[in-house]
């Protein structure tokens, strides 16, 4: 369980995240949603220790994350930031191998190789594992990065806008894989999403942020309704039910 307690972050004098308290339940997908500049990515960065909070603490199973050793932390929490612009020429297999870095420090054991094989297999990348990243399409690249995170074998996987620049087909593919990671492998996924319909269909819980504060926090069905969404986005968003999924029809809506 990750507990975020009263976390605040300022960039200069501007508050970006203010007094946020959220609990991430294990074995769920939790989506962070909200308008631009709401502080979603910043919050995720603080949970994953990429940024230090000004005040407040983040606890991982009762341990303060700031006090954990970095390689121990890397075995338990993985974060993937928007990485489409990464310009390193590695093959998929090399990239995935680096997911084992916290365990092997670069000297791969047989066990590491097994994890790498499995992670590549899981993302259906076996046939192209020796291709360079810069030869891949956006969707394949994103799958390669997620494959690396799977090889990292952490309980918690944090993803910052993983659907950025992906088309519908690949977005659905990625979300389905994340769902599998939770349902089949028992991982906990925290994800920053812009498209609320992906959040609605695939996540268990939603945390809605606005101007650095939590405005809604609860089960998906508690957030995906017109009243709650109005509070978050200042828009009238009709919600329709389709095959048991709640779809927000935000096009052409009044603000």
């Amino acid at each position: 369980m990750i507990e975020i307690k009263g976390v605040t972050k300022h960039f200069g004098k501007k508050p970006v995240v203010e007094d946020v308290t959220v609990t991430i339940q294990p074995k769920t997908i939790t989506s962070f949603i909200g308008p631009n500049g709401a502080g979603k990515s910043t919050l995720l960065s603080m949970v994953s220790r990429l940024l230090d909070s000004d005040t407040g603490e983040v606890f991982l199973d009762k341990n303060n994350v700031k006090k954990m050793k970095s390689d121990e932390f890397a075995k338990r929490v993985a974060i993937l930031k928007q990485s489409n612009h990464l310009n390193v020429r590695l093959t998929i297999r090399e990239l995935v191998s680096f997911g084992r870095y916290p365990y092997s420090k670069g000297r791969l054991t047989e066990e590491d190789e097994k994890f790498i094989d499995q992670a590549i297999e899981y993302m259906n990348l076996t046939d192209m594992q020796d291709k360079f990243l810069d030869e891949l399409s956006g969707g394949q690249k994103q799958r390669a990065f997620i494959s690396m995170v799977i090889a990292q074998d952490t309980e918690y996987i944090l993803l910052d806008e993983p659907l950025n620049n992906l088309d519908m087909k690949h977005s659905v593919q990625i979300m389905k894989i994340l769902r599998q990671l939770v349902d089949e492998l028992g991982k906990t996924v925290v994800i920053v999403l812009h498209d609320i319909n992906f959040a609605s269909v695939y996540s268990d819980r939603i945390v809605a942020l606005k101007n650095g504060r939590v405005v809604k926090d609860g089960q998906t069905h508690e957030i995906i309704n017109s009243e709650a969404l109005r509070e978050v986005y200042d828009m009238d968003i009709p919600v329709q039910e389709q095959n048991g999924c709640r779809i927000c029809v935000y096009f052409n809506s009044h603000s």
Binding site: L50, S70, S83, V88, F98, Y101, Q152
Partner: protein
């Protein structure tokens, strides 16, 4: 390209290098241990070959590390002010101490090279516009500023001529007893290989490195120290050799990728091959005289660099 091809080429070129020069030495001459020719061979030809190998490998590795850490394909000791800063260090040492010792030159050159590179990395951190071409342009401008400060100091203290001849990249003055500092490049290169995985991870950015539990700052600092050690030793023994650290790692990256554990051996031997070819060429083109190797490297290097700029811009951006 296979590693064994590069190693074979290095060995063949090394042998050629040993037997090319103003004085005709044949392998059979070496049978007589006390002859003048054997003495020349041991005092001049062998040191020269060793200097070329060490400088070629060292500058290429320094370039590779800088490209990895700055995440820019066109950053190298000669396009980030490292060499100019190390040079400035020597000049300052020469002005500061009237009878400057070799050790003082080394220390000043190393300190300036290191600080100069750190400063460039800081500048790089602050600028928003990180175009692949723009960054090395800033680096070259920065290097020229450092260089002109050096020239000014040299001019004011009447050591300008001294300074100018000192830094022309050339292996003509390499004789036994005057190049041994270069061997410091060996531990630096070994260290680079040991930490290859860390440099690759750091090359994917600070967030990426932190996610894998790597101490980014430590790796960054280690890399900069390695670069400064290599640059200092090369500057003080053979002078400025431009383009080497830029071209060699980029060619290797094109066919082998950016996994340093894999590319370091190739980079070492390609650097050796490239510099040996340039040096042999420098020695035979106006035989029995020779042109400074930095001119040959600059001519061939700038041609390759231009090709890289025009054709490789897409590659470097990826």
């Amino acid at each position: 390209m296979r590693l064994w091809m590069l190693i074979t080429a290095s060995i063949i070129l090394s042998l050629i290098s040993l037997f090319v020069g103003a004085i005709d030495i044949r392998p059979s001459d070496l049978l007589d241990w006390d002859s003048d020719k054997t003495q020349i061979f041991l005092m001049s030809r062998v040191p020269r070959l060793m200097a070329i190998i060490l400088a070629g490998a060292g500058m290429s590795i320094a370039g590779l590390i800088m490209q990895s850490l700055s995440r820019n394909k066109f950053v190298s000791p000669s396009t980030a002010g490292t060499l100019d800063a190390a040079k400035l260090g020597v000049i300052v040492a020469m002005v500061f101490f009237t009878n400057v010792t070799y050790m003082e030159k080394i220390i000043f050159s190393f300190a300036f090279g290191l600080i100069g590179t750190i400063l460039f990395m800081q500048i790089l951190d602050r600028i928003k516009f990180k175009d692949v071409i723009f960054v090395p342009l800033i680096g070259i401008m920065y290097g020229n500023i450092l260089s002109s400060i050096g020239t000014f100091i040299g001019y004011e203290s009447d050591i300008l001529q001294n300074v100018q001849s000192f830094f022309i990249g050339s292996f003509t003055l390499v004789v036994s007893g005057r190049y041994e500092l270069l061997y410091l490049a060996v531990p630096a290169i070994i260290l680079a290989y040991i930490f290859a995985n860390k440099f690759t991870v750091a090359g994917m950015g600070e967030d990426f490195a932190k996610n894998l539990g790597l101490s980014y700052k430590t790796v960054l600092n280690l890399g900069l120290v390695i670069v400064a050690v290599i640059s200092t030793t090369v500057i003080l023994t053979v002078g400025v050799i431009p383009f080497l650290g830029l071209i060699v790692p980029n060619i290797v990256s094109l066919y082998l990728g950016d996994n340093l554990r894999k590319t370091i051996p190739h980079t070492i031997f390609l650097g050796v091959v490239f510099l040996l070819v340039c040096d042999i060429f420098s020695r035979i083109i106006v035989y029995p005289y020779e042109v400074p190797v930095n001119i040959t490297v600059a001519v061939i290097g700038s041609a390759i660099f231009l090709v890289m700029l025009f054709r490789g811009k897409a590659y470097a951006k990826k």
